[in-house]
Symmetry: C2
Subunit: 333 residues, 2 copies
């Protein structure tokens, strides 16, 4: 037999045993498992393409494996769910050493274990077009804990689960080789290369019914908050002075001639959670996050009637709706 | 807003409404649905990469959309299951007209409807590396109807659900521009460009408990039957004189200097079913397939004790284990 079967055997060793509800894991035509009663299933797919979503001059295959799974887990977190299973479709350039594919798989398995997720199957293909990775993840959520994008209400407060723009600043450091102290550089580069999905924060919001709407920050607040506004038929005001930005991000902004608010609100890839919550839940939320050993979310603004996302600056207010990262030019009629 | 949101809106129009058990379809972070009691879930992912798995000089975007879904549905058929839902991750080169993405989606939706499957979400990304498509499909099967690869027994007969090598012959016609009559050419080219997943045949086998093991023919009998042998710890003998090959495939073999048996057994991409069945099920199987208006499967050999796949020719016997299409060279230690 050739390399494909060997590769699948090696991958199945890395991805380890199958959990109890899995009837067929790696090695049959599909993965097979028994779904649980009283849960809804959450299901997502994401692709990463070399030269578009990652550049192996900046990252390692292990970190790429971690991040590829992390962005999918972030989608499950964004519904208030718990991830359970993943499948990997790996397009590997045949000329490259397959040891690299195993290194990637090891990184993926680390991220899976950190989030109680089992990688139970997938597909391997040769790719003459660089490395491509597609992952699909299934998770679960109780029906009354599901958090969507479409239930934000006027008067709700808007929160984020961490400081913004770190991943975008980390990318600038890598792209431009910026000179910063290691202490300033490391957390930014790590935010970009090795994001941690906010599964625990999503579960706190869901279990305690603390949020009216929830999304993960993949494209940036300007774009992702606008998605909530569109789906909930509301508007949003973000208070510039309340946007959490660490000094290292301000430093990168200064070095690159950018506005730190642009990095924070339009940078993308932070993979934090953005949610809306009724003001009367404020103290319960603080208590629940503290009990779960999670940092207190930052309030960055409020939901209003109307449309669109506005940024309130000291002397003016600007529309920032949907100005985050977009993959495509406008569709032609 | 830019093109990505417009594209998602257009795709959600093409993919249509969501079925009853789907709680969130296109437009939130993940798809959400309620699983059914008393069924196991079947879950598969497959990727197609431009320049590796397809060439748009040979096929149209509509047919590509059909085939991309068909190969995933074939994996569900290979477990005896019914497909239910699909997610699409589309990597589209930003410079290409997005109308093409919609044409691809329309083809995919045709195939989905022909197989009672709902496309309920996914992901769209820009790709500088050509068009990439990943699909993940969920299906269901009753636990006692699940058909795996690991239950073939010595003495079982080996069947295929149609004549072999048509897709490989179709590919040769396209690659080499072979001169054949339209009547000979069309079914071969269609087998390659527009395969029909054998969901109905898989269901007949599963519901009537007719098969001991089942796989779909993606890499060819030599490779796929070998998978059954490996997993079931048995050997197999294929009778050359019983391998179903239509005259047009023999014609392509003659024109290209190939052995028709090589096209039939090692060509791949036929997406028919290969299964093993106890000899005492033979007449029940004929009756069940006839009742379902499906062509009678062809018996091509039998399972024996031992290892590997052997091809019995009039005067000799050769080992053909695992000599189908392989994506990778051997893994390096």
């Amino acid at each position: 037999m050739g390399g494909e079967r060997d590769l699948i055997i090696e991958l199945s060793k890395i991805f380890g045993g199958v959990p109890g509800q899995v009837i067929c894991g790696i090695g049959d035509d599909t993965a097979v498992f028994g779904p649980e009663e009283n849960f809804n299933l959450l299901w997502t797919i994401d692709s990463l393409i070399e030269g578009v979503h990652f550049d192996l001059t900046y990252t390692s295959l292990r970190l790429l494996g971690r991040k590829a799974l992390a962005v999918n887990l972030s989608d499950i977190a964004a519904m208030g769910g718990e991830p359970q299973y993943a499948l990997l479709a790996l397009g590997w350039p045949p000329a490259r050493d397959l040891q690299g594919a195993l290194e990637l798989a090891r990184g993926m398995q680390e991220m899976a274990q950190e989030n109680n997720t089992a990688i139970i199957g997938g597909d391997t293909v040769g790719s003459s077009q660089g490395l491509t990775l597609s992952l699909t993840v299934l998770g679960r959520v109780k029906p009354d804990e599901l958090l969507r994008r479409d239930k934000a209400r006027s008067g709700d407060l808007i929160y984020v689960t961490g400081s913004l723009g770190q991943a975008a600043a980390g990318l600038e450091i890598l792209r431009q080789g910026l000179e910063l102290s290691e202490g300033a550089k490391l957390p930014l580069v790590q935010s970009f290369l090795d994001p941690r999905p906010e599964v625990a924060a999503g579960r706190v919001l869901a279990q305690h019914h603390l949020a009216t709407s929830l999304i993960d920050l993949s494209d940036g607040v300007a774009s992702d908050l606008y998605q909530i506004c569109l789906r909930s038929q509301v508007g949003a005001v973000v208070e510039a002075e309340h946007v959490p930005i660490i000094p290292a991000v301000r430093k990168v902004a200064a070095l690159t001639g950018k506005d730190p608010l642009d990095l924070a609100l339009k940078g993308g890839e932070d993979y934090l959670l953005l949610f809306t919550s009724s003001p009367d839940k404020k103290y319960e939320m603080q208590r629940c996050f503290a009990q779960a050993n999670l940092p207190e979310p930052w309030c960055i603004g409020s939901i209003v009637s109307g449309k669109g996302v506005r940024l309130r600056l000291p002397t003016t207010e600007v529309e920032i709706s949907g100005t985050g990262f977009d993959h495509f030019p406008a569709i032609r009629p």
